[in-house]
């Protein structure tokens, strides 16, 4: 092939694959340092000075600051126990036990981590205010319509994420694929 068309082909392929790969990995908020435990995605080093470049790029794109590790650890669920993507129109049951932490919070978020519920609606539960069952475990129902018990409004729109943040916990440094985490089961869908 002649030099000029060849060079143009190289540049075109380079730009397309390079930027495409970046858009895919950073856009989906996954990367080298992220791993999955059941429905939960965790990037343990995101809140440290050893954060991998993907985690830093994701944070820069979202316009957010990661949770510093000595402060807490964030776990993001984008699918339920069975592996189906979370949908704001369905009803899910979040059931403890939550790893030992001084406090934890469970909040809803959209696909780009913007709030999914309007001002005035509950965005999340803290471990302090959640009503517990007789076994001491916390059970939260994430649903578009009000439910008895701990009801977390899901917003009723398509994409949904649940963020579990554990504060002041040893699990921040010891988390691994074997750490027991709360379950997230789909109860029903319209």
């Amino acid at each position: 092939m002649r030099a000029l068309p060849g060079l143009l082909l190289t540049l075109a392929i380079g730009a397309a694959t390079g930027l495409g790969l970046t858009a895919l990995s950073v856009g989906r908020s996954t990367g080298a340092g992220t791993f999955r435990i059941g429905p939960w995605l965790v990037t343990p080093k995101a809140g440290t000075a050893e954060a991998d470049p993907y985690a830093r790029a994701v944070a820069a794109r979202l316009g957010t600051l990661p949770l510093a590790l000595a402060d807490g650890l964030a776990l993001v669920a984008d699918q339920d126990e069975a592996g189906a993507a979370l949908d704001g129109r369905c009803t899910y049951r979040f059931h403890g036990p939550v790893p030992p932490a001084r406090y934890w919070t469970l909040t809803t978020a959209g696909s780009d981590f913007q709030p999914v519920v309007r001002e005035g609606f509950r965005q999340g539960f803290t471990s302090y205010e959640v009503v517990r069952g007789t076994d001491g475990a916390a059970e939260v129902l994430v649903a578009p319509q009000a439910r008895a018990g701990n009801w977390l409004p899901s917003g009723g729109a398509g994409e949904l994420r649940l963020v579990l943040r554990l504060y002041d916990t040893a699990v921040a440094t010891t988390i691994s694929a074997g750490t027991p985490l709360p379950s997230l089961t789909k109860v029903s869908c319209p």
Partner: protein, 207 residues
């Protein structure tokens, strides 16, 4: 009329193969370039992203002073925990070390430190508090060498964290365990939290 004898077909086949072989090096080079572009763009994003945390916070926070992010901090900083009240301090250590003071709120308080590109380089929470306030000093490597502790104080009384960069952010975060307690926590932060640069004339507070 097209000549489709076996010899002619073989010639055509060889021509096509040669043409593909000619394009191959360019394609391979393109893919390698793609990998390089990908790596460079991922590294460049924290510095180039137009709407990153630094841009968002620069709009509301002034340098070396504390600003409470009222209402929902999640609006300015997505992914901020809605149960937390947050105060932010942009710092610039060129004129001296930074002194951060956070009140110990009833349930959970943390001070988190970030470089200007959003890398968390340290945090402490109220477990480290020995009094009703948390005092922390953020210094550059050069300033750290200059700080000497008096014989009366022990090193443990002064929490000193070295910042890898001269500019960055401090987030003071306080948990409101239920929404009705949020105004109380916000008021405590607004009235008792502090962020100031210690110029050479000022001695670090010792009380």
């Amino acid at each position: 009329m097209t000549d489709l004898s076996p010899r002619r077909l073989a010639d055509i086949g060889r021509e096509r193969f040669a043409r593909i072989l000619g394009v191959l090096p360019w394609i391979v080079a393109g893919l390698l370039l793609g990998v390089a572009v990908h790596i460079v763009s991922v590294f460049a994003l924290p510095r180039l992203a137009p709407d990153d945390a630094r841009a968002r916070l620069s709009e509301v926070a002034t340098v070396n002073r504390l600003t409470t992010l009222s209402g929902r901090a999640s609006v300015i900083l997505p992914l901020a925990d809605p149960a937390f009240e947050t105060a932010v301090c942009r710092f610039d250590l060129t004129s001296g070390p930074l002194h951060v003071r956070a009140p110990v709120t009833p349930h959970y308080t943390a001070i988190a430190l970030y470089t200007s590109t959003g890398l968390a380089f340290g945090a402490i929470n109220d477990r480290a508090a020995t009094r009703r306030v948390l005092d922390l000093f953020v210094v550059t490597q050069a300033q750290r060498r200059e700080i000497t502790t008096d014989e009366d104080e022990t090193a443990a009384d002064n929490l000193i964290l070295v910042s890898p960069t001269t500019e960055g952010f401090v987030l003071i975060r306080a948990l409101a365990v239920q929404p009705s307690l949020a105004p109380l926590v916000r008021d405590q932060l607004a009235s008792q939290a502090l962020c100031e640069i210690l110029t050479p004339e000022m001695a670090p507070p010792t009380e």
